[in-house]
């Protein structure tokens, strides 16, 4: 790392520390689980078995059964009738009883059509199970060890499958809605398969829990096939720290976090590039809709997600590295292909604001469409990547989003609890967005996204397809034909300052406290309410006042400087206008920067004679601003560790202070004032004469032959006499504006 990079790094850290201090609210973990590690990867994806089941589960009401199967196709009906006869003799009435009867690997349990409430699992724990010694999570439930789960399987689970190998559980109905497991919000988990390698779930529905409906933990080998989950506080499907997994033809909706969550999928491709030998989990043919997000992947490593539909969520899919305790962070190697990701514009935050989500889960009304978003996220987005590497997003249809198709930002490692210095900048790199169908549906109809890309600008090796539409920043690194080819690559340590400010404000969300940050458009802020516009307006006011004062006090007679200042004011106005949601992805912000850059550059040049150091500083500020405009609109400048906006911001602060001093200081005239009528007051009151030929301020004129005329030795208005020739170096010059006139008079 070069020394310049180190400096930048150190600087970033300071910024971050400031921000971090603001952010580090007392944390409560969302869901805590016992420590788990990845399986060793020696398993396989289980294959379905179609033979006669080993164990049967059914209800005994034959009339009810007859109604349920009355519309089945004849063969399915016949099979169910046969199974019912057998089940009446030797079957179980609850799934848990059948699971408990599993005594060898490779058994199959068939569940006949019916509603399964698993009543024996429902009573609250008593005896030893009510007095387990285990740490409490912040939500009041205990973080149980595996042994404790075995001891008390129903403290948290409606159905607990613990340590069974290659177990298959299948519904025998004509559709997955014919077998329903309903936890009625009385358990944290619906069906939990813990350390049960090779488990195969097929053809049923699980619903209404206070955490997730179907939970696979620490499994090497699992399949979720044609299963529906819905109405959970957090997830429909949660498969954690698992390998050799397959989701297919599944559906999930009505979840406060995501429908599908392959969290901490086995991190088998860590250290590799785009070419990988296999993926740990495959997800295909699933639909996830009306959740906070359709798919989420904190540490969703090496997940191959193809041919699914994620629609009508707040966000279609997200992967991130933002939460501690997930094995396999930072997130890497997800591959999204041929998915339909569209119309993810739901906004469920009003349910937090109006108190609906403060009620107990059973009363929130999930069945009627209520979703209680557990965390902060930008509604109206297709795919969010908040800290992730080597992800491939190719050949997807992404359309109809009111915010953005793709959202990418970095997350430093301390957010996930890792403090090692070298890890702080380990996201987001090498994410490839190529060959997607943006703003069109599969039939080819135009369904534009408001913007196609939102990127904070951080990271290296990220690239986007060249046909992406409106984007922020406007100029993006482009993807080449082959994976890994990137044109216009950049490598920045920190994102754009305004975007970081926005993220900072937006993160201050608290569902329990019903706190929806007022300045963040994720929660409905518009116009002047948005922090971006407030920042733009505040800084525009300061700069406008400073710039105007500077011109008035130092450059009033300077026509070009006047025009430049005017341009600057227009630029500042455009900067405010361009900070609004609608205009951010347009050319307006860059145009604003262009005008402001021209302003500072010209004013700086005009100031050169009197205050060379300040003048060149001003010119530098102008140049940085022009560079920033170039960076945002034309081409992201490669090879710099921070965007020009950061340098501009820092220099801008210095410049404002300096300009205030320059404009406000009252000093004696320091240059000769060749007023023809000695004894009269100095010239400030007199106007420049038309046709004034001299463009430069008088300070520069002093050394010219004209100013060295006899009058130069005649200080006039000065309360104290100043050296006649050294004026150019005076820090301030109250009479500078008079000089062109004087010179002209001379």
């Amino acid at each position: 790392m070069s020394w310049t990079r180190r400096i930048v790094l150190a600087f970033s850290v300071v910024l971050a520390a400031l921000a971090g201090a603001l952010l580090t609210a007392p944390g409560a973990q969302a869901h805590e689980e016992r420590p788990v590690t990845f399986p060793d990867g020696s398993g396989t994806v289980p294959q379905p078995r179609s033979g006669e089941p080993d164990l049967l589960v059914c209800k005994t009401d034959r009339a009810d059964f007859a109604r349920r199967i009355s519309a089945f196709p004849a063969p399915v009906k016949a099979r169910n009738l046969a199974l019912l006869d057998r089940c009446a003799r030797e079957g179980y009435r609850h799934l848990q009883e059948a699971v408990d009867a599993v005594d060898r690997p490779g058994m199959t349990i068939a569940v006949l059509p019916g509603l399964y409430e698993e009543e024996p699992s429902l009573p609250k724990p008593t005896g030893a199970c009510a007095a387990l010694k285990a740490p409490n999570s912040s939500f009041g439930y205990q973080i149980l060890s595996y042994e404790q789960q075995r001891q008390c399987p129903h403290n948290q689970n409606l159905v607990a499958i613990l340590g069974k190998k290659n177990l298959q559980i299948e519904g025998t109905g004509a559709s997955r809605l014919d077998v329903v497991f309903d936890a009625k919000y009385q358990k944290l988990n619906g069906i939990r398969a813990d350390q049960s390698d090779g488990v195969y779930f097929r053809n049923f529905t699980a619903q209404r829990t206070t955490f997730n409906s179907l939970y696979v933990l620490a499994a090497d080998g699992f399949v979720i096939d044609d299963v529906l989950t819905r109405w959970n506080d957090e997830y429909g499907f949660l498969t954690f720290a698992s390998d050799h997994g397959l989701y297919k033809n599944c559906e999930s909706y009505g979840n406060g976090d995501s429908g599908i969550y392959p969290g901490s999928a086995s991190n088998i491709n860590d250290g590799r590039g785009y070419d990988v030998p296999r993926y740990s989990i495959e997800i295909t043919g699933c639909r996830s809709h009306h959740n906070m997000v359709g798919y989420s992947g904190t540490a969703g490593d090496s997940v191959w997600v193809h041919d699914n539909e994620f629609d009508h969520n707040m966000g279609g899919a997200s992967m991130d590295s933002a939460f501690p305790g997930h094995p396999g962070l930072p997130q890497n190697h997800a591959r999204f292909e041929r998915n339909l990701i569209h119309d993810n514009n739901q906004n469920y935050y009003p349910y937090v604001a109006d108190g609906t989500c403060a009620k107990p889960p059973v009363e929130r009304g999930y069945e009627r469409g209520v979703v209680c978003p557990q965390i902060s996220m930008p509604p109206g987005t297709g795919i969010i990547t908040a800290g992730g590497n080597w992800n491939l997003y190719e050949d997807n249809w992404v359309y109809g989003h009111q915010r953005a198709a793709f959202y990418l930002n970095a997350v430093p490692a301390f957010i996930r609890g890792e403090s090692a210095w070298a890890k702080q900048f380990d996201t987001s790199h090498h994410n490839r967005y190529a060959g997607n169908h943006l703003g069109v549906d599969r039939a080819g109809n135009s369904r534009p996204n408001r913007t196609d890309v939102w990127w904070d600008g951080q990271g290296s090796g990220n690239c986007w397809q060249s046909d992406a539409g409106a984007a922020s920043p406007g100029a993006l690194p482009g993807c080449g034909e082959r994976r890994g080819d990137v044109s216009g690559d950049t490598d920045r340590l920190v994102g754009e300052p305004v975007k970081l400010a926005q993220l900072l404000v937006c993160a201050d969300y608290n569902v329990q406290a019903r706190r929806l940050p007022a300045g963040c458009d994720w929660y409905g802020a518009r116009g002047l309410q948005r922090v971006e516009t407030q920042l733009a307006l505040g800084s525009a006011l300061v700069l406008a006042l400073t710039g105007t004062a500077l011109w008035w006090r130092r450059l009033r007679g300077h026509r070009l400087a006047g025009l430049a200042t005017l341009a600057g004011l227009v630029g500042l106005t455009l900067d405010v206008v361009g900070s609004t949601l609608a205009l951010t992805p347009t050319a307006v912000p860059a145009l604003a920067l262009l005008l402001m850059g021209a302003w500072w550059t010209l004013v700086g040049l005009a100031l050169r004679p009197t205050r060379p150091v300040f003048a060149w500083t001003t010119v530098a500020l102008g140049a940085l601003t022009l560079l920033d405009a170039f960076d945002k609109a034309v081409l992201m400048v490669p090879g710099i560790p921070l965007s020009p906006a950061w340098f501009r911001l820092l220099l801008g602060v210095v410049w404002v202070l300096w300009a205030v001093i320059a404009a406000g200081t009252r000093t004696p005239p320091t240059t000769p004032t060749p007023v023809p009528t000695p004894g009269t007051d100095s010239a400030p009151a007199t106007a420049p004469e038309p046709g004034e030929p001299e463009l430069t301020p008088a300070g520069e004129a002093a050394p010219t032959p004209a100013s060295t005329s006899a009058s130069a030795s005649e200080p006039t208005s000065a309360p104290t006499s100043a050296p006649t020739s050294a004026s150019a170096s005076a820090p301030t010059s109250a009479s500078a504006e008079a000089r062109p006139h004087e010179e002209g008079a001379a």
Binding site: V14, L15, A21, G297, F323, E367, S376, G417
Partner: protein, 286 residues
Amino acid sequence: MTRATHPRGAATPLLSLVLVLAAALPLAGCGGPATTHHKPGTTHEEASGSSGTLLPARDESGHRLREVPAATAPTVRVEARPDTEGGWNIHLTVERFRFTPDSTGGAALPGRGHARLLTDGRETARLYGDWGHVPPGARTLTVRLHADDHTVWAVAGAPVQATVRLDGAPAAPPSPRPSDTATAPAPATTAPPSPRPTETGRTVTLTIAGKTVEPPPSRIELKKGERLTLRVTGDRADTVHVHGYDREVPLSPGVPAALTLTADRTGLFEVETHESGLLLTQLVVR
């Protein structure tokens, strides 16, 4: 070892943090256990309430009754207005009840489910909201509240339901009757938590044209204690007589007449017209 915290998977959000880059500074020194910067989510409070008690009793369609205390039971009222193109528009007013069409088939949860419409004692439709329509021809409408698992919400052993008489011909081609259509001509008979649900019980509609009875005479099977309403429309002046119970009701041509009785005696009883001597039906009470 740090705890595995799952989920938050999601979303990410967090993004934010981003910037923050480094709060690394403070962290580096202390190196404590991992904590998330993520704020607490909603409560995950597990429900413990009951969804009532299943009774052995079933309604006419075979659905079990689910008993709940009157104080927490849902209630329903119904109002019917003639539709200008025929039939009746009906409006339900429910309390302590939400329609949950998407979870029909799931477990019963308190205060939610759907309504079923029984016209002239026969189940004809479900309602998943508070408005519906009943086609012309019906004489009475009963609205009954069911839970997601199809059981019937019940108080004191009787279904939660409301019944309204759809009197007067529901203007098939509606003759302009401004005053009638403006105000509900069918006064809403409401029976909120209807403790006496089977007020009208089953209703059987018979029509006499000349010597023909429609439907053709057959047997009506009743349980002892069940209530029955006979609704008879004749084409001439006559009298309907129920033997055994010795109940009568006069008939005017074209005007429906109703006779309601409680089948409190077992046996086989004939229903006849006095003047024309037609056998209308037989009642079998067991």
